[in-house]
């Protein structure tokens, strides 16, 4: 896809809030034409406020928003050429499916026959053939969100805003609609900003992910960037690196070693990047493997421990492993008994090392 030289949307120093309390503390972001961006964050991080401020539902206190080079920050929502898909669907219950989808076109002065043709093509695009005259209240959740998507796409928006559109759907529908949405976006080529709290949803759909924390952008990058190279402990934990261990780096005989606090016999050769002093390591449970003794310890930290609990969520076993004062979670195909001694392999390249947080 050819990228337009002008960003589809460009946000600079955006600040917004409710009354005296400030929600967004200066957000910068650029979305290229045809790009799919996911804004990821836990509830209360300001991601929905950011989306609603971009849409014009919420006033900004400072900063600029420009759509294809045109400043829209001062414009009311109806003049911004964006379309939003809401978590609550926000379909008008007093109108039919076709009435909902044709609303924007009617406002734009399209003729009845042109609207009908457009709606027909949208209905078949969204797998809703023959439902045009239905009341929206007679549809299932997945169908309703498809209608809402059709209503937004009908006006050929320059930017599609998605406010947790899949959160209210049950798991199966959510997965299929996730795929459909991504396919539609690729075929039609519009730029999209998708707000979600679901990490997997963001990872699988987006070209780039923006992770927000307390009204600021914590990291922007491709799914690989944010997962493999988190810039802060917050990102690492958000990306599922829930296992933590304190690492004490030191020199021994002129060679880098690392000591794991609390495990006195664990002074290991350090093969990774050089660090100094005490740091905290974060690692995802799927990066940890349970290994046979005598495995090559190169490029890894090997810890001895024993299984403290086991669960079978399906596919693989999930273990909690006690290593001295630490507990790690890890998954494995092998069945181990509770209390059985095991060795954990933590690959150095999957270990994210940051300064120890005092808080």
């Amino acid at each position: 896809m050819s990228q337009s030289p002008v960003a589809a949307i460009s946000v600079r120093g955006l600040r917004a809030g409710y009354g005296a309390s400030s929600i967004l503390h200066g957000v910068d972001l650029d979305v290229a034409a045809g790009e799919f961006i996911a804004i990821l964050g836990s509830s209360g991080c300001g991601k929905t406020t950011l989306l609603r401020t971009i849409a014009g539902f919420h006033p900004l206190t400072d900063g600029s928003i420009s759509l294809f080079g045109r400043d829209v920050a001062g414009l009311p929502p109806e003049k911004r050429d964006m379309a939003m898909v809401f978590q609550s669907y926000a379909l008008w219950p007093h109108m039919t499916v076709a009435g909902n989808m044709g609303y924007g076109l009617k406002l734009r002065g399209w003729s009845a026959s042109a609207i009908a043709a457009k709606i027909d093509s949208l209905l078949s695009l969204l797998g809703l053939e023959g439902l045009g005259e239905r009341k929206v209240t007679q549809l299932s959740g997945g169908q309703r969100q498809r209608v809402a998507l059709g209503r937004a796409l009908a006006i050929d928006p320059k930017l599609l805003l998605l406010d947790e559109p899949l959160s209210n759907l049950d798991a199966k529908v959510r997965l299929s609609l996730r795929y459909e949405l991504k396919t539609l976006q690729k075929t039609l080529g519009f730029a999209a900003i998708h707000v979600t709290h679901d990490r997997e949803e963001a990872m699988t759909m987006a070209d780039r992910i923006i992770i927000m924390d307390k009204g600021r952008i914590a990291q922007i990058g491709t799914p690989e960037d944010v997962y493999d190279h988190p810039v802060s402990p917050f990102i690492a934990r958000f990306m599922g690196a829930d296992n933590q261990l304190p690492l004490c780096f030191m020199q021994k005989d002129g060679v880098a070693h690392v000591r794991i606090e609390g495990l006195e016999d664990h002074v290991l050769r350090w093969h990774g990047r050089p660090y100094e002093g005490t740091k905290t390591g974060y690692i995802n449970e799927e990066a940890i493997s349970l290994v046979e003794p005598d495995t090559d310890t190169n490029q890894s930290i090997i810890l001895k421990g024993h299984i403290s609990s086991r669960a079978y969520p399906g596919g693989q076993y999930r273990y909690s492993i006690a290593c001295g004062p630490y507990h790690f979670s890890a998954t494995s195909d092998h069945l181990f008994a509770e209390g059985e001694p095991v060795e954990l392999r933590l690959p150095l390249n999957r270990l994210h090392i940051f300064d120890t947080q005092t808080a």
Partner: protein, 273 residues
Amino acid sequence: MTMLHLSTFSRRLLQGLGVGLLAFFLLGPLANLVLWSVAERWYTPFKLPVTYGTKYWEVVFRPTGDAMTSLTTSVGIALAVVVVTLIVSVPAGYALARLRLPFRAAIMLLFLLPQAFPSVAIYINVARIFYWIGLNGTVIGVVLVHSVHALVYSVWIAAAAFSSIDQDLEWAARNIGASPLKTFVSVTLPLAAPGLVAASIFVFLESLDEFTGTFFVGVPQVTTLPLLLYNASMGGNYQVASITALILLVPSIGFMLIIERFLKGDVLSKIGR
């Protein structure tokens, strides 16, 4: 077993008695009204009318009769009151529901105030003021008095109707190009319509039944049905009074059935919020 049967039986009996008493207190007066409306002659010591007939129905429904004139006056005033209260309560209700107004609770209470004081005291003063400015004895004066009285229902119900509409429904329209006015007309108003219809019906019935305010402000030039009823029964004409009361009952019962359909739980739960 017998004990159980007995207790079921006695429960049935109590239920039956309860329903019977309720019916007596509700329907007894109604039966009396109906009886009076067809009694041409009825005096003591007779327990039932001496002669039956529809003479008084003809008197009431004579095109030139007082009753028909007051019925027209009453309905006209009630419709005008509905229009006036809608003009006030649609914007007021919307503002109360949507805007972050300071003193929102105080404003809601303000509409309740006219009900808080003894109405006679208020109406005497209103009558005095209306007399000064020449509104006493005019239909406009009566419409105003009824409107103030009815605003509490219409504003509170309208505010509830508007706040039960998810604001995202409005944003969805604005978002794809509708102006605020277009959004209000094509999305908000149709969705609030059931609540507004219910509010209007309440207002209509309130106005139709209103007596005290009309008595102080409208008499003697403006005679509504309740005033006619009052005059007739004070004058000992129980037949005309009964027929007037029956006429007043018709819209009340009819509209109550409609309101029950229109006013949904999600609107009711928002009243006073």
